[in-house]
Symmetry: C2
Subunit: 384 residues, 2 copies
Amino acid sequence: MASSLLSTPSQTLAPAPAAARLRAARPAQVLFPRRSRALRVRASVAIEKETPESEPPPTFLREDGQGAGSGSVRERFESMIRRVQGEVCAALEEADGSGARFVEDVWSRPGGGGGISRVLQDGRVFEKAGVNVSVVYGVMPPDAYRAAKGEAGKNGAAEKPGPVPFFAAGISSVLHPKNPFAPTLHFNYRYFETDAPKDAPGAPRSWWFGGGTDLTPSYVIEEDVKHFHSVQKQACDKFDPSFYPKFKKWCDDYFYIKHRNERRGLGGIFFDDLNNYDQEMLLGFATACADSVLPAYLPIIERRKDTPFNEDHKAWQQLRRGRYVEFNLVYDRGTTFGLKTGGRIESILVSLPLTARWEYDHKPEEGTEEWKLLDACMNPKEWL
Amino acid sequence: MASSLLSTPSQTLAPAPAAARLRAARPAQVLFPRRSRALRVRASVAIEKETPESEPPPTFLREDGQGAGSGSVRERFESMIRRVQGEVCAALEEADGSGARFVEDVWSRPGGGGGISRVLQDGRVFEKAGVNVSVVYGVMPPDAYRAAKGEAGKNGAAEKPGPVPFFAAGISSVLHPKNPFAPTLHFNYRYFETDAPKDAPGAPRSWWFGGGTDLTPSYVIEEDVKHFHSVQKQACDKFDPSFYPKFKKWCDDYFYIKHRNERRGLGGIFFDDLNNYDQEMLLGFATACADSVLPAYLPIIERRKDTPFNEDHKAWQQLRRGRYVEFNLVYDRGTTFGLKTGGRIESILVSLPLTARWEYDHKPEEGTEEWKLLDACMNPKEWL
C-alpha cells in the first residue's frame, strides 16, 4: 500500500510479503498462495473506468442488502474514513497557512463505489499532499475463490461456485513538505470483505483490516521520531500490548528497498489481513490509528516547517525523495498492482513527490547527518 | 533493457514482452515460457557481488576455451562495445565543452567477467550521461535449461543435464541533456551465448543479439526526429530492408507505459533474441547500429544545446523525466530484473535522470507544443 491510495481493489487484493505475515493460514493468504495465482486474479480484476462526478454523494455504498445497512461495519468504516479525510485536510490547510486549498476530484464506477481524491500542491509548507478515500466493489474469479475456500469445501459448498463479490474501502495519504527537516508522512487504513457466492450459501464470508502510518524524514531528529512512534504506540496499546512491537517490525519489514538494503524511512506501524480479533475491536483500532495521524504528525510539522536550510539539505531531501519513488514504483503492492489493473492513475501516483533526484553513486560521508539517516534506514532502531 | 545497463546477466535473461516477439520458438523464448519459470530462474541467477578494480583489464573474457579465442564472436563483440564506449564518451565530453569528464568505475566478479561504468554528471550540456559496458558469466539452473532444451531432447541428450553456463556482453547508455529542447537518448546492444552442459554433449548451444537506440524528446522537433530515424533506417537497410519497419514497431511496442497509454518517447529501433540470420551478419548489424549512435544524436545536440528556454519548458521536461522514471522502474525488463537479482545498482540506476517531477493530474492544453509531444507518444507516427 504505501503510496497506495486505495483507488482500486488492487491495493487490498495484492498479497502481503511472506516475511511480513503473522499467521499461517488466513483467508487473504489462502487466496494468493503463489504469485501465479495472484497474476491470474490480477488479470481478472482489471476494473471499469471511473466517471468524474461533480459532488461527493452521501455514501458510496450500494443498497444491495449485503451488509450495507445502517450500523454495518462497511457503513461505519466509510463514515470514519470520510470524517478523517475532512479533518486531516482541514488541519493541513491550516498548517500550510498560505490560503492554498485541497482540490477535490470525485469519481464513481458504473457498478457502484467511487472515491474522493483531495490534493494540495505547491503550498507554503507542503510541496504535495494527497488524501484520498475510496469504496470499491469488485468480483473475484471462481478459481481464486476455490483456492481460498479450502476448509469451506468441507461445509458442503457447491463444487464450482460463481464469482465472489468483494468490497474494499480505504483512506490513503502521502504528505510531502517542502522543508528538508519536515518529514514525509504516509498513512493508509482499509477494510475488506468478501461475500459468499450466491450459488454456494454454505461458503464462508470473510473480512479483514489493513493499514499503517509511517514517517520518512531526510534527517533524524530524535525528538520528532520518538514523538511519532510514541503516538503510534499509545494508539496500539489501548487495544493490545502486542500490537506496537509486532506492527512496528512489520512496518520495518514492509517498507524495505531491497536493492538498496535500506528502509524507505524510519517506520511506524503496518498491519495487513487482520481478522483474528473481534471485528468491532478492530474497527475501533483502525479508527484510533487514523485518529492518531494528526497528533502524531502536526506537532512535528509545526516545529520544522520554518527551520532554516541550505541547498545541500534540499539536495539530500531530493535524493531521499528519489528513494521514495523507487520504493513506491518497484515494491509497493498497492501501487504496482494498481498500475497494472487500471486503477485511477492520478490517485495512485499522487503519492510521488513533486520533485526527486538521482545522483550516481552518492555516498554520504560517515558521521554526517545524512549518513546518520542512511544508517537508521539500514539498521532499524527501537525508538521508544 | 531501456535503462538497462547490462551490468548483470539479468538484462539478457529477462523474457521479452510477448507482443514484441518476432518468432514462435527460439531458445530465449522457450527458456521462459511462463512467468513462474522466469521467477525460478531469477532466484537462481542472483549473482556474486562485484569487486571494484583500479584499472580496466585488456579483456573481461575468461581463457576457458569456450569460444573466447582470438577472432571469436565473444571477443569481437567485447572489442566493439569497448571501442564504442570510448568513442561515445570522447564525443560527449567534446560536445559538453565544459571540461567535465566521465568518471570511470571498473568492477569484476570473482567467477569472471566485469564491467566499466562511465558517468558524466552535471556538465554544461549534459545533466547526466552514463555509458556502461559489461561482460558477464553465469549459470542457468537445470530446470530452466530442460524447458529450453525442447527439441534437443531428440538429439539424445542426457535426461538431467547439469547447470548451463551462459555468457552475456553489452553496452548500455542513457544520456540526459539539460536543455528541454535537446532530447534524451538511450542505446543498448548485447550479445548472449549459452553453452552445452558438460554432461550433455548433444544438447544445443545457442546465441542471440539484442538492442536498440531510441530518442525521448520533451518537444517534437520534426527535423530532429526525422534525422534520428533516418540514420537508424540507413543502418538497418544495409542489412535487410525488413529490419527498420520491424524494429521501429518493436521499439514503439516495447517502450510503452501501459498505465499512461503513452510511449516513453518517439522511438527508434529495438530488437531482441535475434539469431535467425547469419551470426557474422548480425555481429555486423549490431556494430553498425552502435556506430550509428553518434551520427544520429550529435547533430541534434549541437543544434539544441543552446536553444533559449523558460521555466515552463523546464517544468515540462521534468514531467517527461518523471515518465522516464516510471517506465524504467515499472516496465523495463533489464532494470526491474537487475534490481531483483542484485546487479550493480549504481550502474543499473544511472539511467534515471538527475531530476524529475510529478504534478497531480497535469494535462497540457490541446494544440500546445506539450500536447503535440504527448499526442506523438500516444499515437506513434511514421517519421520517414
